[in-house]
Structure formats: structure tokens, C-alpha cells
Symmetry: C2
Subunit: 289 residues, 2 copies
Amino acid sequence: MDTAARIERALKDAVDHATGPGAPPKIAAALRHAVFPGGARVRPRLCLAVAHACGDDRPVLSNAAASAIELLHCASLVHDDMPCFDDAETRRGRASVHAAYGAPLALLAGDALIVLAFETLARGGSETPDRLAHLIQVVSGAVGMPTGITAGQAWESEPAVAIDTYHRAKTGALFIGACKAGAVSAGADPAQWEGLGDALGAAYQAADDLRDALAESEEMGKPAGQDEAHERPNMVAECGMADTKARLEQHVAGAIAAIPPCPGAADLQALIKGEAKRLMPKKLVRHAA
Amino acid sequence: MDTAARIERALKDAVDHATGPGAPPKIAAALRHAVFPGGARVRPRLCLAVAHACGDDRPVLSNAAASAIELLHCASLVHDDMPCFDDAETRRGRASVHAAYGAPLALLAGDALIVLAFETLARGGSETPDRLAHLIQVVSGAVGMPTGITAGQAWESEPAVAIDTYHRAKTGALFIGACKAGAVSAGADPAQWEGLGDALGAAYQAADDLRDALAESEEMGKPAGQDEAHERPNMVAECGMADTKARLEQHVAGAIAAIPPCPGAADLQALIKGEAKRLMPKKLVRHAA
């Protein structure tokens, strides 16, 4: 099974479990809407690529890790889009969960996805209990407090924050978590994979800031101009377009350089180069050409 | 250390971890506000009472289980109180989290508490990995989909639901989870503890419906009359005050009868009798006297 199919299969198993017998129908539909069809699935692909590079001797556990990372990402999108945050009506080119099912079910669906992520880890880890506690700590550190993506968004309610601190928590933490979770699920030391996740998260955030500033709603599948509208720190506003583009390219190069020597290094390089191409806003590519 | 002190200590350790170095200050304050000072802490007390009855040979794990159950309960209260649900300005006799910190931080604080619950389980379970996967599945089943407390609230968005199904998910699931988590953390079979949790959850929900219908805001520390205001199923509306009071008494008797033979049976009986006294609305006690 190729990686994309493996991820969709693992996510389907997880969501099927949550929407099984006894589930209220509307929230069950909201959960499926939040997870399928997905976006680029970049975080779970990264997680499995790192697991593969580390030998992937426990694919049931690495599947669970990749699913959990993606479910947590989906949860954060559902809650981000709610009226009390971005109030975004669209996501991935169609109605956001609250636009389709209302704010109460969006709130509950996000909560249920967070719970499902950890339940999925436990179900996938029941045969490899020696790795489970560490894996959960890596994943929870990426999304929870004090420095996970929850903290990243909470910085938006503070009077001031350094943009690097903000971006590292808001976006970098889950990329780092994806890399480290892949390593831990394969029984490897996660520390040497932190640099890769950090660089990729920074690249991704620079690209997101560029697209938001360029107002590429259609390309993003969600409303653009959100940072300015919500007075959030944005690298383009702070450093300018050219500097942000240069930083994006530096972060991509940094990510490739951060891959430790391993059997799957070539696959990882290919993944990163493909992402770099996908991340660069079309307008900037056309402009350069 | 007595049970109450043990619970507060374990919760403090968990919240200290989440609000440690790097945490944005406002959400850190919101997390503390959500957890301290607590209510009756009935679910973690129940969890530890069951663990005690089962030998409590791994108190680090049972502390983690009790904390996780309470953190998840606190998370549900924070999200319940938000404007898109009950829009309640008060909780436990003071400002609800969204009233004190705004809806965005309340949403994030609830999310962070859910994550923290599972992180706390993993941290407490690192020395007892053989019990961790099962424990997480018991806890996630109590709060997530398809039949945990998230599902319970999601039934409020459906056109119709049987009141027993609704109450068992909305309230019973976490009482059952507290009992089963106590058993699993002590290495015991959780199945024989389900009846106790189920009966106590039903008693608690009957009491809550009575107090809501009696409009005892002061006694509850939160706005009363919410079920009628939100057109939610309420046992008093369906069965009348006298029948609901009779059911509450039956559920308490059922809970005592459901305690399996064990060394801590007397402690558990005392806990349940104390709760029964606390749960019965003062107006009904005065009326009877």
C-alpha cells in the first residue's frame, strides 16, 4: 500500500470507530466532514517518512501516530474556523464544519477529534506498550500547553509576542511532533529529528503568511487576508514579501540539511522538495518566471 | 495524605506542567481558573475509591487516572459554558472561563485541558506501560465518540433522543469511566465496576435535573433553568418532581448494591451516602421534613 492510501485507511479506521454504533448522526457526519476529503496530509506523510527512515518496525504504531497527528490538525482547523476565532465559512474549498453543522457541533467535533487522536494512539499501541507513553508525550507536547499549537493560538490573545515564538508554537510544534512521533513509533531517538520538523514548520508558516498576504483565497481553500483582519503577527508585514520568500527558501534548504544520515534520506528529500514546490505561492512563481 | 489532598496535589502537578516555562500568561491563568478551586471533585474521588478497593498497587497511575478524569470534566464545563452552548456567565459561584478570559481563550483552554488529561495519563503511566493502553481506552471511551460525554451533548442537536440514552452519555459515561479507570489503574477488571458508575451517573443526573427545575442557581453555583431555556430533555419535565426524586433515591440504592465484594466496600458506601445527601436539593429535603 502506498503512503497516501495507508494514511487514508488509518484515518478511516479511526473515524469509523468514533462514528460507530450509538453515535448521534449529525456529529458523526461533522467528524467525517472535518477529516475527509483531506488537504495535503503533509504532517502524517512526514510522520510516516520519518518512521520509514527509522526502520518502521511497528507499522501499526506508526499508522496510529500519523493518524493522531492528522486528527489533531483537523481538530485545530475546526476550532480555528469557529466564529470566536477566524469566523471562516470555507475550508479546503468547501463549507467549514461550523458553517455546515453549526457552532455547537463544531465545538464538540473538535473536542471529539482530540480525544480520538489519543484513543487511536492507545489502540495502535496496545501491542507495543513500551513505546506508548513516550509517543503520547511527544504528541501531547506538540498540541497542548505550554508550547504546542494551543499555546501558539493563545499568543494571539497576548499584547505582544516575538513572531518566532508565535510561529514555532502555532505551526512548528506540530511539524516537530510529526517527525518525533514517527521516530518514537519506530523505536528511534526523536531528538535528532527535531531540526527537520522545526525547519519545515518555519517554511510552511512563511508560505502561509505569503499566501495570506497575497490574498490567494482560491489557492488556499480558505479566506485570505486573515492575519491583517485579525491583527495577527505576519512575517510579510514585519519583513516584507521578498525577505519572507527568501526565508521560505532558506527553511526548505535547512530542512533538507537537517535530515540525519539514514536509509530513507532520499525519500525524505523528495518529500521536502515536492512540498517546497507546492508551498511557494503561484503568484510568486509566475513573478519570478 | 488524605484523598482530597491527594487529588489536589495531582491536579496541581498536572496544571503546573501545562503552565510551565514558555506558556502564554493569559491561557495559563485560564487553565488554573478552570481547575482551581474545584467543585466536589466527585469523579476523581470515585476513581480513587475504586482504585483503593482494588488494592491501589500503583498509586502514581491511579493519581494520573483521577486527575485525567477531573481535567476532562473541567474541560467539558469550560466548553459547556461558552456562548454557543449555555452562554453561562457563572460556574462554581464565580465567573465562567469565557466570562473571565473571553471565548477564544475558553475554547483553547478546554482543548488544552483535554490534551493535558492524556498527557497526564502518559506521564503517570510511563512506569506501568502494561496498563496504559487499556486505561487510555477506558478514559477516551468515557469522553469521546460514539458514546462518551461529547456524544451526550451532541444529542442536544438531534431532533429526538431517548432521555436515558442522552443522560447515560452526557453524565453517566464519565462516572462509569471514573470507576473503570480506578479499576484498570489498580490492575483489576473494570467490567464489574460499570454498574456502580452507571447508577451514580443516573443519580447525579436526576439530582441535576431536579436542581435545574427548582431553579436553585445559588446552590448550583451556575445559572438554573437551563434545560427549559435550551429545550433540552429534563427528567422533571418528562416524569414530574416526585417521580424524579424517587428515581434519584432508587439510583443511590442501586449504586450501593452495585459495589462488588471488596476490601474498600465500606469506604465506597460512605462516599455514596455522603454524595446522596449532598445531591438531594435542599428544597426537597426541607419539603420532606
